[in-house]
């Protein structure tokens, strides 16, 4: 079952790496793949429905392949978490055919959350990392270091 309530969305996977966290994403198109991945990432840290949309940060990224672009995108979100002191809950990434990405995720300052994040994510790992085109759209598997 996926979190979005349809066949597409993200799902936390237990017991892939004992002290870390993993999730998989199924999406109908490439923009959704990145959107669900962003949601999955921050849902490890906090309940997304408790994260407001008061602030926006712009992101522009480029890569030469889809796999690396998703890794860069998720890593960029973690970088912004620390430097802007923010968590995000709404994502609307646009990816063009040349693996250029633009997004302006919405979120709020960590200090203004009613409940502190239950855990911090240090980084996105390459362990079992997978991004692939499927017959229904796109699939990703990500393990993050806590």
């Amino acid at each position: 079952m996926t979190v979005s309530g349809s066949e597409f969305g993200y799902r936390h996977i237990e017991d892939v790496a004992t002290s870390d966290a993993a999730f998989e994403v199924k999406a109908g198109n490439i923009n959704e793949l990145f959107m669900f991945s962003g949601q999955a990432l921050f849902s490890v840290m906090c309940d997304l429905d408790k994260v407001g949309h008061g602030q926006e940060i712009k992101i522009e990224l480029e890569s030469d392949n889809l796999e690396d672009l998703l890794y860069l995108y998720l890593s960029e979100l973690l970088y912004l978490k620390d430097t802007e002191d923010m968590v995000f809950s709404a994502f609307d990434p646009k990816i063009d055919g040349n693996y250029s990405l633009s997004d302006a995720p919405l979120g709020m300052k960590i200090e203004t959350l009613n409940e502190a994040p239950r855990v911090d994510i240090k980084a996105v790992t390459y362990y079992k990392y997978k991004v692939e085109k499927t017959d229904y759209g796109y699939y990703a598997f990500v393990v993050v270091d806590l």
Binding site: D15, D120, Y127
Partner: protein, 481 residues
Amino acid sequence: MRKNKINDYIYEIPASEKEGMRVPARIFGSRKIVQGLDEAVYEQITNVARLPGIRKYACCMPDGHSGYGFPIGGVAAFDLNEGIISPGGIGFDINCGVRLLRTNLTEKDVRPKLKDLMDVLFHTVPSGTGKKAILNLNQKDFEKTLVEGASWCKDNGYATDNDIECIEDRGCLPGADPSKVSEKAFKRGLGQVGSLGSGNHYLEIQTVNPEDIRDEELAHKLGFDRENQIAVMVHCGSRGFGHQVATDYLVTLSRAMKKYDLHTRDRELACAPFDSPEGRDYYAAMACAANNAFVNRQVITHRIREAFSNILGISQRELGMNLIFDVAHNIAKIERFKINGNTVKLLVHRKGSTRNLGPSSDLLPPKYRGIGQPVLVGGSMQTGSYLLLGTDSSEELSFNSTVHGSGRVMSRSQAKKRVRGRELFNEMTSQGIAIRTASFAGLAEEAGFAYKNLNDVVDSVTSLGISKPVLRLKPIGNIKG
């Protein structure tokens, strides 16, 4: 996977067991511990045994569990010319480590003021997620900390001579070069110098009860000389700075593998020859992060001393809060080892493993010569920790390495299913452990039952002969990161 029993505490996976293994893999631990390891540990340690330039064995310590790239508890040493360096053998939290401070206080002195002390420490030592720090450094000073490590702290009034002497490598990994660090890592690290972070990081007030002393003579020599003596333990690393350095170089080294015709079974084992531009650059940046972590733990120590002195109304001299030792458990370093009668320099990776020098090592500070290096084994916040000493036989058996903690046996989500944070908080409070945490859900993830039995882990390294137990420390106050 086939495991040959070498003795009661060493199991070996022969190099013939997996294609491409260059050396055997050795798992250290009692039968109970080895049988309890998840299969991924065997996959991961045998993948490590395939890496170019690896010498002797790929090792996994008794506190091992599955990680990514290397298993947690993994140790591997590589030839400086033919071998590699891999961020996956160090971890994202570069120089995550533990330090232990003794005091002249006993539990009787501290209990009446414990609540006040915990409140002050919780508010003055930043913990949890985000941009919070004790120090507000400019770029120039931040760069200095990366090169000078703990000696910067001494020059700026945050460390004593004894502190510097009692930090692994005197708190400064040589070869640090800030020009090899990305702008992003600088921005991420600037706002976090002097902060615990999250997850299993903590600041803990502990007692040493008479029944927990395993070697009274050694305990006395190390400064534990009164009943129910108070100690303080700090567990944290290089925060976002180290995480960004590791992330940056994981990408760089992953791309460089084609150039050097390197192939690994796990992409997280991305690596480059140590003697290559990419390998040298990563080492120089990793050393910056290692020094950043030494500074981080030292600055926190300064704040702890202030808090104790202020709350208890005694001078720092009366407090006697001296550093016993500070050890890294996520790091790669060049160290000397005797192999087949020859002394060789190798690049040893320790991921969730601690350096463990024996009494005869000339790298020890004078006061520990003839005793051995203090080793700090951080247990769960509920069950306590150990102070051990390194032995000389550790060089031959485990590249002067030993355990770093008790090792998780249960994932975070499983732990949360078994206990609610508030419930655990109440349980620990009734056990006499004061807790401060920003998140109760995060607390549940660190419950004692989520970890191996620490006594089993320590008994394994004791029986193996690589470390010697001195005493056990029990928590009375824990600030969870």
